[in-house]
């Protein structure tokens, strides 16, 4: 336990070291999440639009 506490204390600089690593993780995860969701959404919209068009084309025939 002693070791763990020491580890988390970061030699008294816990207030600087941990936030630094945390923000890196948060920003990287957020960027990834936003991009991934944007991509998925765009795939869905595209598929829907294409289906729409195919339908209309077959209607027209």
């Amino acid at each position: 336990m002693e070791g763990m506490g020491q580890f988390f204390a970061m030699g008294g600089y816990a207030g600087y070291v941990w936030p630094a690593f945390a923000i890196v993780l948060v920003v990287m995860a957020a960027l990834w999440f936003i991009s991934d969701r944007g991509w998925r959404k765009s795939e869905q919209t595209l598929a829907a639009l294409r289906k729409n068009r195919r339908q209309r084309e077959s209607d027209a025939e």
Partner: protein, 241 residues
């Protein structure tokens, strides 16, 4: 296999789809290793104590901030000169990633600066030029946003990206040109790295992890942009019919 081999968007989508999961996985793995090394294995510095660990996220972020801009500028040049159809998208897709890394460099630098220099922020040349880089990214994205016509926006943004590229050498060499508080380069320099190997390796692993992450994210964003472009075309065709 010329530059134009990947100009075909469908081929690109297929290839990107294949690479992306691997790149994502590798980035996650390298990041995990890097974090482990940086937080646990590496000993505290005798001068800086445990704050030195911030280096392992700060320095790769700062490198990526500059790297992304170089990438963006090169992609813009390719788009303007060779009219490569994917170059626009690559440039557009890399801007938010670059902005993210620049933001990280600023924040982690601040978090390091407080214990080291006793201030969150000082107005020295290196710090300020990174701040300016951040503004440049924002301006670039805002320009894309504010021009409706996609093709026009691409060209305008490319011109801006190229003009803004002068900022990169300024950031790189600002510490040499002005006497500042900030560390001069100790890894990326002409006469080889001046840093202890026990620190160098984790740093390089972290840097590699960031690079691979960039690739994975770039591919995802490019596919998204490509889809968005197709969606626009379909919508417009629909509206006019």
């Amino acid at each position: 296999m010329s530059l134009h081999y990947f100009a075909n968007p469908t081929r690109f989508t297929r290839l990107a789809g294949r690479i992306q999961p691997w790149a994502g996985g590798l980035a996650a793995l390298l990041l995990a290793v890097g974090f482990y090394l940086a937080l646990i294995v590496v000993p505290a510095d005798y001068q800086q104590g445990d704050t030195v660990r911030i280096m392992f996220v700060h320095v790769p972020s700062a490198w990526m901030a500059m790297f992304c801009y170089i990438f963006l500028a090169v992609a813009s040049a390719v788009a303007l000169i060779w009219k490569h159809p994917l170059a626009d998208l690559a440039a557009k897709a890399s801007a938010p990633i670059g902005a993210g890394f620049t933001f990280l460099a600023l924040v982690t630098g601040s978090l390091w600066g407080k214990p080291m220099w006793g201030a969150w922020w000082v107005w020295d040349a290196r710090l300020t030029s990174v701040l300016i880089l951040f503004f440049l990214y924002l301006g670039y994205m805002a320009l894309w946003q504010s021009i409706e016509d996609g093709q026009k926006a691409a060209k305008a943004a490319a011109v801006l990206a190229l003009v803004g590229a002068i900022n990169v050498p300024i950031i790189k060499f600002s510490v040499d040109w002005w006497n500042t508080l900030h560390q001069p380069a100790s890894v990326l320099r002409m006469d080889g790295p001046a840093i202890h190997p026990s620190m160098l390796w984790p740093l390089l692993i972290m840097a590699l992890a960031f690079k691979v992450y960039f690739v994975a994210l770039l591919l995802a964003r490019m596919r998204m942009e490509l889809n968005l472009r197709r969606i626009r075309a379909l919508r417009l065709a629909e509206r006019s019919s």
